[in-house]
């Protein structure tokens, strides 16, 4: 077994374990941390596929930003998971049915029949000087420039919408105006009172 294959199986095993723990962990913080582990190992697998840009961006965006905010919320909320588990047995048959259906659908679509080595040629290794990042950038900004820009605009709209939906005037909040704070002078705040010394009674 080649070194690369050993790495692949090690990462795949960790990935499956971490993904499993995400849904089985009792503590929501542990679940979120296992999701981080899953993202990390997934990035490792992508590196093996010579997709280093996607791998690093996965770590940068999902591990570095999204999951930090996730953890933030989960830690602050202090979710008690006991009531969430109450109906486990009752909903089990429905859940199993949905899971089986999804498994069937996925096997039907991405099975060996359509994506096996007979249908899709094994991609050739890239030569040494090949830069996945540069190649991706070239394709994104030439062939797919319109879809790319449209996606960017849609995301911008989503950001603005989220801000507008949650922003409301709250007169009770105390707000500091730094411009005013900077302009405050000694004479505005301080009054020096001249008085003669007092004797202790």
């Amino acid at each position: 077994m080649s070194f690369e294959r050993i790495i692949f199986y090690a990462f795949a095993a960790i990935l499956v374990y971490a993904a499993g723990r995400v849904v089985t962990a009792r503590n929501p913080v542990h679940a979120a941390l296992h999701l981080v582990l899953a993202f990390f190992t997934c990035a490792g697998l992508w590196l093996l596929l010579e997709a280093e840009f996607l791998a690093i961006v996965l770590v940068l965006v999902y591990v570095g930003a999204v999951m930090v905010l996730f953890l933030f919320v989960v830690m602050m909320l202090d979710i008690n998971s006991a009531p969430l588990r109450e109906g486990f047995i009752r909903y089990l048959p429905v859940g199993l049915a949905v899971a089986a259906l999804m498994l069937f659908e996925m096997v039907a679509i991405v099975g060996v029949r359509y994506f096996g080595p007979e249908q899709v040629a094994i991609p050739a290794r890239h030569p040494e000087g090949y830069s996945n990042t540069a190649e991706l950038g070239r394709v994104l900004y030439t062939d797919y420039v319109y879809p790319f820009e449209i996606a960017a605009v849609i995301l911008l709209v989503a950001i603005i919408a989220a801000i507008v939906l949650t922003m409301r005037r709250r007169p009770e909040t105390k707000y500091q105006d730094p411009a005013k704070q900077v302009q405050a002078r000694k004479a505005d705040r301080l009054r020096v009172v001249k008085m003669s010394a007092e004797k202790k009674q």
Binding site: F3, F53, V63, G64, V68, F72, T133, A134
Partner: protein, 344 residues
């Protein structure tokens, strides 16, 4: 057999980077106490060894001998693994730092992205430490630190985009080579606002004064590592100082020409200093920024929390975006000597 040999050789190289780095961290703490001491007109540590030179060794020994206390009701596994998560990214980022044009552990194409990704992972050590310790002070510190790091990460990322445009590459060696020419070819001049913002964001990312509300002795005791003692605390300490060195070296590589000589392009001096290896220049530039770190700590009072957030979101991010536009225009117009080669 070949694989094994290569592995051993890589391990040797890693040791050659991490060993001096750890020693550098130890003596950075000494330098900090001495320099801040002199700035405040006192002498600083001078008892252990000649002129106090053995003080960091004594400190390290003391921390090694102390008991590691794990609080009851804390999450044992996460509590112990948090310091490791904190130091690992700080060390791993050194893999792509070029010490000279050929001396890099891993000369990868996406080096800049790799560094950005790793620096964003460092926050996990802090968050997990704060949560696992099961203490409200630690938790408050972790929350503050997480919010702060995430905010300044954005400004830092935008500053790096500016470097990427000017250098025309994500590879750190290529970025340094793009600055070759003379002192004014270095990116600090065309990217001056980004340079300043990158370094200040770096100070904020490492939770150093004046952005150290995450530790905030006067309000939340010591922040996220309040429950840590002995070796586990020492690793947090190491991580903080290793991060400082990393930020300094990154600023030197990206804005001050890394291993390039500052006398390049000057008729007589260039030849006179041609024998100095590039690593010396890199080290000197790094020390300059480290001095700034210490200087800030001795000079500025701690920022209030809302001021930190305001500075990050409302000042730095708009400035970086505006400067990216200016830089884009400069590239399109091919303004020399920095952008004449990159257009097209």
């Amino acid at each position: 057999m070949d694989t094994l040999l290569e592995l051993a050789w890589t391990l040797t190289k890693i040791t050659a980077i991490v060993g001096p780095l750890m020693l550098g961290v130890a003596y950075l703490t000494f330098a900090e106490r001495k320099i801040i001491g002199y700035m405040q007109v006192r002498i600083g540590p001078n008892r252990v060894g000649p002129r106090g030179w053995l003080q960091p060794i004594a400190d390290a020994l003391k921390l090694l001998m102390k008991e590691v206390i794990i609080p009851t009701n804390s999450n044992r596994f996460l509590f112990v693994i948090a310091p490791v998560l904190s130091i690992a990214p700080a060390l791993a980022a050194w893999a792509v730092i070029p010490f000279s044009d050929t001396m890099v552990l891993a000369n990868i194409d996406a080096g800049l992205l790799y560094i950005l990704a790793l620096s964003s992972v460092g926050v996990y050590g802090v968050i997990i430490a704060g949560w696992a310790a099961n203490s409200k002070y630690a938790f408050l510190g972790a929350m503050r630190s997480a919010a702060q790091i995430v905010s300044y990460e954005i400004a830092m990322g935008f500053a790096l985009v500016g470097v990427l445009i000017a250098g025309g590459s994500l590879n750190l060696v290529d970025i340094v080579e793009a600055q070759r020419g003379s002192l004014v070819h270095w990116f600090w001049l065309p990217l001056l606002p980004l340079f300043v913002i990158f370094f200040i964001s770096g100070v904020a990312e490492t939770n150093r004064a004046p952005f150290d509300v995450a530790e905030g002795e006067s309000e939340i005791v010591a922040g996220f590592h309040v429950e840590y003692s002995g070796m586990t605390f020492a690793i947090f300490f190491l991580a903080e100082y290793a991060n400082m060195i990393l930020i300094s070296v990154l600023t030197a590589v990206m804005f001050l020409g890394g291993y390039l000589s500052p006398f390049e392009g000057i008729p007589v001096l260039e030849g006179l200093f041609a024998w100095v290896p590039g690593m010396v220049w890199l080290l000197a530039k790094t020390c300059l920024f480290l001095l700034f770190f210490l200087w800030f700590r001795a000079t500025f009072p701690r920022y209030r929390y809302d001021q930190i957030m305001r500075l990050g979101w409302k000042v730095f991010i708009p400035i970086t975006i505006v400067w990216l536009l200016v830089e884009g225009a400069a590239v399109v117009l091919g303004i020399g000597p920095w952008f004449s080669g990159t257009a097209g």
